[in-house]
């Protein structure tokens, strides 16, 4: 069985990330610098980040970057589901003008994204679309646009490069916000760009092995009909992203959970030996002891595990479990992990799809026609 026969768009996107890095940073920095006037940025005290599907996960994953660069007393950074922003958000006059609502959408096309931006505007908040298409609905609905400038790719779906672009752009935006508000040192954007470059480069050496081992694991897991993705905090965003890629490229159903609740609930799923269990954790994660306990609990019932981590700790993995060791983010920049730690999971998803010969997004037809992402009615605030 030759890996090359199963090469596929998602896998190619994964492997393209190191090459994308420089272009993307250039695009993002350019976008960040031109997005919002300095005097507006200086007034921002609260940021609400939103997005649909995996963009919501991006919103969640960049919060630590905002806290690192731009947090002082009285600031607040929060990820909110797009449906909640578009239908349930309320801001009073006093707070609205210091609030920035950021909607993330590479295509800028979903109805809900435009609706969220319009609602935020209605309450007097500043709004920004993070998009690769300034002419889109999102671009037109927002007061400001952070144009991420991601270069084209032959097979761009499902949008893995876009996810990378959103994360990189938002983290750089956080650094920029810290700079202009005087909370972080000048040149923080440059310093962060350098770290992103290094972290991404460190993956480039590790990618061939990762690609190989995920191809092998996909063969073992090929017949599984359900997966659990586990992670805490921003690793939960990564776990969710991996789950979303699995669904998009293969249609297999995945549950996403944090370590603790998994031990209480998802643990009890039937067919434990045929339920692939992907765990994402970090060497500096405060949940390490719980991760080990969770692995133990899962292995006791015969769950096959893929552990994605940069940690050297002994997790007492059994023979039916696999470890995918990934590079560590640069010290002091642990918050960068979500820009890349999904890669092994995404590779696994891509091969699972390829080996089972399943069409991405179920191959159009009714699947394309029945979906209402773009056609959903926009409700005015």
């Amino acid at each position: 069985m030759h890996k090359s026969n199963y090469s596929n768009p998602l896998q190619k996107q994964c492997l393209s990330l190191p090459d994308l890095c420089d272009d993307q940073i250039r695009g993002s920095v350019d976008g960040v610098m031109n997005a919002i006037p300095v005097e507006v940025m200086q007034k921002i005290r609260k940021i609400i980040l939103t997005g649909c599907g995996d963009s919501y996960m991006a919103a969640h994953a960049v919060i630590p970057a905002f806290k690192k660069y731009a947090r002082i007393f009285g600031t607040e950074f929060e990820a909110m589901r797009c449906i909640d922003v578009s239908r349930c958000l309320y801001l009073d006059d006093q707070n609205a003008s210091a609030t920035l609502v950021v909607a993330i959408s590479a295509s800028g096309a979903p109805a809900r994204i435009s609706e969220a931006l319009l609602r935020a505007k209605h309450f007097g908040a500043h709004t920004m679309a993070v998009t690769n298409n300034p002419e889109s609905g999102a671009g037109k609905s927002a007061e400001y646009v952070l144009f991420v400038g991601t270069p084209d790719f032959p097979d761009p779906n499902p949008g893995l490069r876009n996810y990378y672009a959103s994360l990189v752009s938002l983290m750089l935006f956080a650094a920029r916000l810290g700079e202009v508000k005087g909370i972080s040192p000048l040149r923080s954007v440059n310093a962060l760009s350098q770290q992103i470059r290094e972290y991404t480069r460190s993956f480039s050496a590790a990618l061939p092995d990762m690609d190989e081992s995920m191809f092998r694991l996909a063969q073992h897991w090929q017949c599984f009909d359900g997966f659990d993705m586990l992670g805490d905090d921003t690793d939960h965003s990564t776990a969710s992203f991996i789950a979303a890629k699995f669904v998009e490229v293969s249609g297999v159903m995945c549950a996403v959970c944090d370590m603790e609740n998994w031990c209480h609930v998802e643990f009890f799923k039937s067919n434990p030996t045929e339920t692939g269990t992907v765990i994402v954790c970090r060497s500096r994660g405060a949940d390490l002891s719980r991760v080990k306990e969770t692995i133990h609990q899962a292995q006791c019932i015969g769950r096959p595990i893929l552990l994605i981590t940069d940690s050297d700790e002994d997790f007492a993995l059994s023979t039916s479990s696999s470890l995918c060791k990934i590079p560590s983010p640069p010290p002091g920049f642990e918050f960068l992990a979500p820009i890349l730690n999904y890669v092994p999971g995404a590779l696994l998803a891509s091969y699972y799809s390829a080996l089972n010969e399943i069409a991405y997004f179920r191959g159009g037809g009714v699947w394309a026609e029945a979906n209402t992402i773009r056609t959903s009615r926009i409700v005015n605030a």
């Binding site: 649909c52 599907g53 995996d54 919501y56 007393f73 589901r81 797009c82 449906i83 909640d84 239908r87 349930c88 809900r112 009909d225 359900g226 805490d232 905090d233 789950a243 979303a244 669904v247 998009e248 293969s250 249609g251 297999v252 159903m253 995945c254 549950a255 944090d258 603790e260 609740n261 031990c263 209480h264 609930v265 643990f267 009890f268 799923k269 039937s270 339920t275 405060a286 949940d287 002891s289 719980r290 306990e293 969770t294 133990h296 609990q297 006791c300 019932i301 015969g302 399943i358 997004f361 179920r362 009714v366 699947w367 029945a370 979906n371 209402t372 992402i373 959903s376 009615r377 409700v379």
Partner: protein, 397 residues
Amino acid sequence: MFDQNNPKDNPLCNQVFSLPGMIEEQVRICFSQEQLENILPIQDCFDIRKIILTGCGDSLAAAGNMVPVLTEFCDVMSCRAIDPITFTRFMEKTDIGIGEPNSPLVLSISAGGETARVLEVLKKASELGAFPLVITGNPESSCANAAKKAFIMKTPKMQNDFPGLRSYLANMVGIVAIAARLGLVRGVLEPETPEMWSQSVIDYVKSYAPHLESISDAMFHLAEKWKSFTRFDFIADCVSSNSALFAQEKFYEVTGSLGCAGDSEDFCHINYFVRDPETVGTVFFAYRDQPTYSRIKETIRSCVTLGRPVLVITDEEDDFGDGVTRVVIPKTPEGYTWLRPLMDFCPVALLAGYISELGERRYFHSFFPHTYERDPESLFFAPGTLTLKESKIEYIL
């Protein structure tokens, strides 16, 4: 094994039918003036600026369901339900509070009182100088001892109440009582409100009694069609997402199925694409008073078009079109929509119970639902496997 002559004899069904009968006693316990004054003295009530609710599994859903009540009636700056591992391992001091005494109120739920992670929450809250309060059935437990105060539920006992629907309802009633206490003391609520609330809780739960039989029949018929399904989607928005979460958890516990809980928008971006849609049981919570109602209706139509089997739980005689099984639950009285989650899990709980019966599945993958005997072969409860109580206590400050 399943008894065709008495399809309603299963723990979930028996519990659902017992709820109207237990509610009066539970409300009396929760609204006990003596207990409320003890756990929330006036001075402490005024110290509270924010509220954080936590709990594991369905306790977190119970907490989330009651967030709107605490937010609206207690005059606090914010109220959020946060999963316990995020609270203990990832939230820093500055994420939680600014060091004022007795704030935030950290309200944790652990029925047995020995859940390690909840104990961890209480210890961390204690060390931060916040106000750790536990809702528990066990006054002697580790959690009761670690908390500043313990709110004891004393839920009326019933045979075979596992997995617990009665305790789930009890926990929500407990939070309502706390909201009433805080609201009254802080001058938001009128002196007569706690009594009106306790009566409205009783009335609403009892309003299900005449409908349970027909809801149960409908769920039984649906279970006959859905009994072989092993994948379920639960879709709900706003506060109802907690009922969806609860449903997903019960389906894991009693049917061993893979389940996802999502909102009406994000579902369209991800789980919409799950393959073999005709065998994914898809349950919606659709309420017209929710601002997302129009989106939910669109998503329901999408699912029908895909060929998904759809159940809609609603309190409206609204038309969701062909191909939808609709179950109508009692309406909440004007101004009391917060009562809805106290009971809107009933249809899904019945459905889960019947699917488990008809599909001959085991509870927690190990217990036979009638005898409660554990399958000796099951690895799930083998000694040393479960880590819920033994998990290491560790937290960051």
